[in-house]
């Protein structure tokens, strides 16, 4: 066990962690931030995506100690300061971008990383960027729509086939 310190959603936090503790387990078990989900054991589903120093990573596939001293943002850090949903989160609600919600934290974190580097992505770019995030419920169209809407684009033509 060794003490581990990182800045999570703006707060500097410390807890003990074994060498083998995954970042996802540290966030969920160590810090009680259970918004980050774990959906697989094979690094494939993307439900666990968080930002480490601004980059989207799968927290299930990174050791907590690798993130020592880093700045982490999880889904709990995505709302506005007054607690209301951010534009991207609100767009997921408005466009029915979630059903069971299990994939949603990872979807929001991946989409936020995309919009940070590409504020007006095309539909194809959104779909390509979300390749590592699996959703078993929505069929993806409404997720794509939500991300495009959050970027301020017209979404009337997206995913018509699904509706």
């Amino acid at each position: 066990m060794a003490k581990l310190t990182m800045t999570v959603n703006g707060r500097t936090l410390s807890a003990d962690a074994e060498g083998r503790t995954l970042l996802s387990d540290f966030l969920r078990g160590g810090l009680g931030l259970t918004g980050t989900h774990v959906g697989c054991d094979t690094s494939q589903c993307g439900a666990c995506v968080v930002h480490v120093d601004g980059q989207a990573v799968k927290s299930c596939s990174m050791l907590a100690h690798e993130a020592a001293g880093s700045t982490i943002t999880t889904i709990e850090g995505m709302a506005n300061a007054d607690g209301s949903l951010s534009t991207l989160q609100q767009a997921f609600q408005d466009h029915h971008g979630l059903q069971c919600g299990f994939c949603t934290p990872g979807m929001v974190m991946s989409a936020a990383a995309l919009l940070a580097e590409n504020p007006k992505p095309t539909e194809a770019e959104v779909r390509h960027h979300l390749e590592g995030n699996i959703c078993r419920c929505t069929g993806y169209h409404n997720i794509v729509k939500a991300v495009l809407a959050a970027s301020g684009q017209d979404v009337s033509g997206v995913g018509i086939a699904a509706e």
Binding site: E18, S43, S61, L63, E66, A113, G132
Partner: protein, 262 residues
Amino acid sequence: MYAFDFVKPGTLAEASEALSHDGALPLAGGQTLIAAMKQRLNAPEKLVSLTGIPELKGVCAGDGGVTIGAATTHAAVAAQAAAYYPALAALAGQIGDPAVRNRGTIGGSLANNDPAACYPSAVLASGATIVTNTREIAADDFFQGMFTTALHDGEIITSVKFPVPQKAAYAKFQQPASRFALTGVFVAKFADGVRVAVTGASESGVFRWTEAEAALTANFSAAALDGLSVPADGMIGDLHGTPEYRAHLVKVMTKRAVVAAG
């Protein structure tokens, strides 16, 4: 996952020392190793992180080539190698998904030598040199069959030196669930000949398709491959494709790579 000690040295010398002990293994992006450890397919006593060593990171061009530090992520190669070796940067940008590309590294991919990994095809087709903490290994000697390389225990890849071809392209037929290559072909045209390396297809891992190299050296066009075929013997057969299907894909993807290289 079994317990292990974790160390994160700041220099290559410290990492070499830490890895000189039995039971120690390097950890780069962890995009393969951590999943393998979760399944207890791998249980090192000590993990030595290579991600905190500045001298193992970065892309630099010079002497008609480009050198990439072993711990450089796929995302960094996609962004930083684009100006020097566009086909290589494009390959890096097609690996997995964005989160995998933000952690996974070229050194980890080569050391792992997954038969469906993308980088081995670029390294072999470019005739690149793998530099380690003790020696230099030519690509033709490095890959020794599925998940097997010329690396010794504890040896660390430090960088990869790529000669930059006149024309090159990578054509990948993606396995849609894993996003690895069901078959991928890297074609590189140099002044003194063409090299063609195929990943994803063979039970012996990445290989050079020498008949195609001869045909393309004589005439660099997709039509030059018309008369050739690849035997299905020794090709991978699984639920995603039969050996015959993969053998067919080798030719199709080689043609696409030649067309893309222009």
